[in-house]
Amino acid sequence: MGTLALGCDVLMASRSVTPFLLVGATLFCLGLFTVLTRKNAVAVLMGVELILNSANINFVAFERMRSMSGTPLSGHIFAIFVIILAAAEAAVALAIVLSMYRNFHTSDVDQATLMKG
């Protein structure tokens, strides 16, 4: 491991993509915390969206730092596919939450214990 390169340049967003990666890491941790602690299924899904957004920030940032060799804009296209999959995931997952609310009259994930042994 190298030493921490904490120069002034590293934290300047116009010269380096490191600040964007830091924002992505922070957003990922916030989303993970939301997923781990929330009981409401809708709030858990909001945490999942935060995680997907942080991954997208990393994809776009890496595309920016990449040299122009190879296929252009692969990072952007990957980010677009992630957004599309997030839309599909949100639609199906919220339909499942509605179905669960109809059956259990709650949307708390720890109340749906029908399959618990």
Binding site: G2, L4, A5, L6, A13, S14, S16, P19, F20, L21, L22, V23, A25, L27, C29, L30, G31, L32, F33, T34, T37, R38, K39, N40, V42, A43, L45, M46, L50, N53, N56, I57, V60, E63, R64, M65, S67, M68, T71, P72, L73, H76, I77, A79, F81, I83, I84, L85, A86, A87, A88, A90, V92, L94, A95, I96, L98, S99, R102, D108
Partner: protein, 181 residues
């Protein structure tokens, strides 16, 4: 980049970062789920701004269109439909927070250390052309197969969501006079 442009860029970055991370913290900690949903809106706006700063204009536009216009509205619908309208206290209880907070904090320290200890290549100069044309050629060329598969997946998700969310049993209309007591 000249001095004042660079300064402007950095100021915009930090404003967007504060917006994104601040509303993200609110999403993680708020007790009221409606407020959680609306602060998620601010998070999505901030992330779209970060995309724009990274010269990803098309991804930023898609972020606004799909996340803010579609997914967030879906979330708010789900929040409203899974609570009774008279339910004033829209509960958003958390389970125990100590253990998860510690684990996530350790993970965050680790990630920050790795990001700062790695020597990333310098970002190239600004001034990329608009990305829409390249992305369109890519989607119709090299990434044609994933593009078609995703369209099929969207169709499947549409049908599946509509099937899952519809009412369970259709009420049978009984003929007149056959009503039992």
């Amino acid at each position: 980049m000249e001095g004042w442009k660079e300064l402007l860029y950095n100021v915009a970055f930090w404003v967007l970062t504060v917006l994104t991370v601040g509303s993200g913290v609110y999403v993680a900690l708020s007790k009221n789920i409606v407020r959680t949903g609306f602060s998620l809106l601010l998070t999505f706006f901030g992330v779209a701004g970060l995309y724009a700063l990274l010269e990803a204009d098309f991804v930023a536009a898609l972020q606004l269109l799909i996340y803010v216009g579609g997914i967030l509205v879906l979330f708010l619908f789900a929040v409203m439909l899974t609570h009774k309208i008279t339910d004033v206290n829209l509960s958003n209880e958390s389970s125990s927070q100590g253990g998860p907070f510690f684990a996530v904090f350790v993970l965050w320290i680790f990630l920050v250390y790795v990001i700062l200890a790695t020597k990333w290549p310098d970002a190239p100069k600004f001034g990329r052309q608009a990305t829409v044309e390249e992305i369109g050629r890519g989607l119709m060329g090299k990434w044609l197969l994933p593009f078609e598969v995703v369209s099929l997946l969207l169709l499947v998700a549409l049908i599946g969501a509509a099937y899952l969310a519809r009412p369970l049993a259709v009420k049978v209309i009984e003929p007149l006079g056959s009503k039992k007591a």
